[in-house]
């Protein structure tokens, strides 16, 4: 697992098939985390992620917002990531929290899926982990 410093690398996850999105609590003080498991497209252009299960973890989320579109049948995939950008409604909520004294998150990132799902995340850091297929029982071979 490694921390992502250069977020431009996430562009290689375009068309990665989305398998799982999990919001969970971790550690003694239950920090909020969002985990996104995708399968890198075979032609993604980044060998380490091609046809691999890639787990992105957004750690210590201050705010997660947006809209999950569930109207579509069939696989969903990553369209794009946009760094230093939050959807306006999420940005407004973060601003309210910061005004109240909460510490602002260093990472602001939004992700759009091909279904129309859009999520904005303000968090402490983002890590990436390329999982063995044995570790993650997901269908990556179909790509």
């Amino acid at each position: 697992m490694s921390q992502i410093e250069d977020f431009s690398i996430l562009a290689y996850l375009h068309d990665a098939q989305v398998h799982r999105l999990v919001y969970y609590y971790v550690g003694a003080d239950s920090r909020r985390c969002l985990e996104l498991l995708v399968c890198g497209h075979k032609d993604c252009g980044y060998k380490l992620w091609a046809k691999k299960n890639v787990v992105l973890t957004f750690f210590d989320c201050l705010m997660v917002g947006g809209c999950l579109c569930g109207h579509m049948l069939g696989a969903d995939s990553i369209d794009s990531f946009r760094t230093n950008y939050l959807l306006p409604e999420v940005e407004a909520k973060v601003a309210i929290g910061v005004m109240a004294g909460l510490r602002e998150s260093p990472v602001k990132i939004s992700v759009a899926f091909s279904s129309g799902t859009e999520l904005s995340i303000a968090c402490e850091l983002v890590t990436v982990f390329v999982a063995d297929r044995q570790d993650e029982d997901q269908e990556c071979r179909s790509l």
Partner: protein, 89 residues
């Protein structure tokens, strides 16, 4: 489009794809520009075709305009690739 501002050329690529999809009787996804399909009897959207308009400077297929059409939907196809049923009428 994730807050993205389209150039006139990118807009034209979306519009050209939309014209082809409409000619085949497809409907646009209400939630994502460039996605076309059909709403089935169960009231759910089945994606049939999608255009991803490239964003200059982005690596991989994120930076190149391509389409997704059956039968190899997950493949990145050239924008001129016929839809299933197109040109066969």
């Amino acid at each position: 489009m994730n807050g993205r501002t389209l150039t006139p050329q990118q807009r034209a690529e979306f519009d050209a794809f939309a014209a082809r999809a409409q000619a085949l009787g497809l409907s646009p996804s209400p939630f994502r520009t460039g996605t076309w399909g059909r709403i089935d009897a169960d009231g759910r959207f089945r994606e049939v075709a999608r255009v991803d308009v490239g964003e200059p400077g982005q690596p991989g297929f994120r930076g190149r305009t391509h389409i997704h059409v059956p039968p190899d939907f997950s493949d990145h196809s050239d924008p001129q690739t016929p839809f299933l049923g197109e040109y066969q009428r």
